[in-house]
């Protein structure tokens, strides 16, 4: 094997998970390379969390196999648990315990003791910039401090793979940027990172590769640039219109210009291809002729949002609310 070529550290094949009659994960194949930041995108309830729970060994697949660093997850649960770390969307710290106690408990659960444990705890506190607050109750910390504590807590056993389930949800801008830096730094130190997020710009800037999942299936997989290319070779044209005009405008453009028009809440968007500028002026002229007032028109390179709309038919936020309750019900009921 070529040693510059990173090996596949996680291999998922034919993964299916059913809860009763509901199929949460419907035949997923994935190869995650050692040392990469891999993103999983998709509306909640799409099967992201279920996939991650199976990779973490928290739930067993209905069929399919997962191997991590060559170990089958069902046969070597204990070995794999030592290799994996998890930080969930909710900040999980014991508010009634001090920062130090929080870390010590987890370190002990990973069978650390004596000097090793103290060393790991001290390092973690330092890393999270919480050394001077080591004996303060975690409940008294700000959201950002708790989040940092949470991150070092999930890293206390030096896992080679870290799963971050929406790590920046609910953080303010400073803390989000700080979290991104930390994630990049961990990755630079050789940690493979699996990231789910609902911020597509976050996935865009952090992930080496990403997969878009919907209805339990992988809809697309590749680098952010590759995925964007799927939408359009050139720019995407967005035209904002009055609500009542949208349908009419879309039909007019489809009929006269013969291009594919996507409709979202308050605008239409068109993948313009190479002749984007020419297309835009044609459209503006057409709408003027039809006496449809244009509120705004813009041209931009495709974003992951556009990829997402193309693949799942809705924006990521539209899908959030309705599916969230389903997802959590499925998780715990069984």
């Amino acid at each position: 094997m070529n040693d510059r070529m990173p090996k596949d550290i996680i291999v998922v094949s034919g993964l299916i998970k059913r809860f009763g009659s509901f199929t949460a994960v419907d035949g997923i194949d994935l190869r995650i390379k050692e040392g990469e930041i891999f993103g999983l995108l998709g509306p909640n309830g799409a099967g992201k969390t279920t996939t991650i729970n199976m990779i973490l060994g928290l739930i067993d697949p209905t069929t399919g196999t997962i191997t991590i660093d060559g170990f089958n997850i069902l046969k070597h649960r204990e070995v794999i648990k030592e290799k994996m770390g998890l930080m969930t969307q909710e900040t999980v710290v014991d508010g009634d315990l001090t920062a130090k106690q929080n870390l010590e408990i987890i370190a002990e659960l990973y069978d650390m003791k004596g000097k090793d444990k103290d060393h790991a705890v001290d390092n973690a506190l330092e890393e999270a910039r919480l050394s001077e607050f080591r004996n303060a109750k975690a409940g008294s910390f700000s959201g950002g401090m708790q989040r940092r504590l949470n991150l070092v807590k999930s890293m206390i056993h030096n896992p080679s793979i870290l799963v971050l389930d929406e790590p920046t949800t609910g953080l303010d801008v400073q803390n989000r940027v700080d979290m991104w830096d930390r994630i990049r730094k961990l990755n630079k130190n050789g940690v493979t990172i699996i990231l789910t997020t609902q911020y597509l710009e976050e996935a865009d800037s952090l992930c080496n590769r990403l997969a878009i999942i919907d209805h339990g299936k992988i809809k697309a997989l590749g680098t952010p640039a590759e995925l964007k290319k799927m939408v359009s070779e050139g720019n995407v044209i967005d035209i904002s219109l009055r609500f009542e005009d949208i349908e009419k405008a879309a039909n007019a453009i489809r009929k006269n210009l013969g291009v594919d028009v996507k409709i979202t809440a308050d605008r239409i968007s068109i993948s313009a291809g190479k002749e984007d500028v020419k297309q835009l002026s044609k459209m503006v002229a057409l709408l003027e002729k039809e006496k449809i007032p244009i509120i705004a028109a813009s041209m931009h390179l495709p974003t992951l949002d556009d990829v997402f709309i193309k693949l799942t038919g809705s924006t990521i936020r539209d899908a959030l609310g309705e599916q969230q309750s389903n997802a959590s019900k499925v998780m715990w009921r069984r």
Partner: protein, 383 residues
């Protein structure tokens, strides 16, 4: 194999330590919460003079003469809703009815009743759980006796604890009863059981459900951790909580003037009974915690189970005063046996192994079933 065993224990201990650290971090609030409940119950309820209605009184008329007939008529005349009199053909049947709670007070009219010189003309028997009820009607019955048989005097009715020899009958008293009891002493046994059970419901099961809700459980389960450790840790934590709350209730009730007739040995018995009861209810609370999503729902469910069981255990009022169908439930209610045992230790002052072993045995069976189910259901839940 033994490796798995020791590692399970070790992890359980770490989880237990975590729960205890959380408990300790709010120790004042937690202790006050534990004290408040029994304190309020004792303050408000111990001063209730147990007002009795239609207390069943059985009379065995061994004399069967004119005097006893007149006494009976007098007794019927003074019932007044306070008690109801029935006649019972034999002493053995009478004693059986006292024991089973069908009658609260048994009067035995000796053949020599009404003859001037005897002091044991009428014997009164009751079992200790009914003591407070009987206290309410004894004065009336005494006065009937005195009024009618002026020669007998106040010694005519002797409480059972005096252990009279009954020369005129074949009967040898087998029931033992403590010193005169009042409702407070009666209540303490029930309060100990109640506080232990409520402490249990808000112990391990409750922390498990909050751990689940806040995501802590997931964070713990991704560490190399046997799931049985989680159950074990929560169980040990719950036992600790019930030991602490029992100790507090005992101290409080001693302040209220309650006595534990069996002394220090009695305290040990109480702890054994409470721990056995706690184990079973820990199982129930853990099953609930694995089935239910929200703490509020958990609290409603568990209280719906615990409160009726408490009422039907004879903790608040004697089982004798319940209708038959309720008494039937109380015999299959594990809490009944804990309350009975604690009360024997505190009020009766004797807890022979022949009583202790069956009672503790029933609690142990209850515990094994509930904890077994809890471990099984927990595996199904998340594994």
């Amino acid at each position: 194999m033994s490796n798995i065993f020791t590692s399970t224990l070790k992890k359980a201990y770490i989880l237990y330590k975590r729960d205890m650290l959380i408990f300790k971090s709010n120790i004042r609030a937690n202790l006050v919460r534990t004290i408040l409940f029994p304190l309020i119950i004792l303050i408000f309820f111990s001063n209730i003079g147990a007002v009795a209605h239609n207390v069943p009184v059985g009379v065995v008329d061994l004399a069967n003469n004119a005097n006893s007939y007149k006494f009976m008529q007098s007794l019927y005349a003074s019932e007044g809703g306070l008690f109801t009199v029935s006649t019972i053909p034999s002493i053995s049947q009478g004693m059986a009815e006292v024991t089973s709670g069908q009658v609260s007070l048994l009067l035995i009219l000796n053949p020599n009743v009404g003859t001037v010189s005897t002091s044991t003309g009428i014997l009164a028997y009751y079992s200790s759980p009914d003591a407070s009820t009987v206290d309410g009607i004894l004065p009336t019955i005494s006065s009937v006796a005195e009024e009618y048989y002026s020669g007998i005097g106040s010694k005519g009715i002797i409480p059972l604890n005096a252990k009279p020899s009954a020369p005129d009958t074949e009967f040898v008293p087998t029931l033992t009863s403590g010193l005169s009891t009042d409702y407070e002493d009666f209540l303490v046994g029930g309060v100990i059981a109640l506080v232990a059970v409520f402490g249990t419901l808000f112990g391990g099961g409750f922390t498990l459900i909050t751990d689940k809700q806040l995501g802590n459980l997931k964070a713990l389960l991704i560490t190399p951790l046997n799931r049985t450790s989680v159950m074990l840790g929560k169980t040990i934590y719950t036992l600790t909580m019930s030991v602490i709350s029992t100790a507090l209730v005992i101290v409080i009730s001693l302040f209220f003037g309650t006595t534990i007739l069996m002394g220090f040995v009695g305290v040990i018995w109480i702890f054994i009974l409470v721990l056995m009861l706690t184990l079973g209810f820990t199982g129930i609370s853990l099953i609930m915690a694995t089935r239910v999503k929200k703490p509020e729902i958990y609290a409603i469910f568990t209280q719906t189970i615990a409160l009726p069981l408490w009422f039907l255990s004879g903790a608040f009022f004697p089982a004798a005063s319940m209708p038959a169908w309720m008494r039937a439930i109380s015999t299959v209610n594990p809490m009944t046996y804990a309350v009975d045992g604690i009360r024997d230790v505190m009020i009766t002052g004797s807890y022979p192994l022949s009583t202790a072993l069956p009672q503790i045995g029933i609690l142990a069976i209850f515990a094994v079933i509930m904890l077994g189910l809890a471990i099984k259901l927990f595996k199904v839940q998340i594994a």
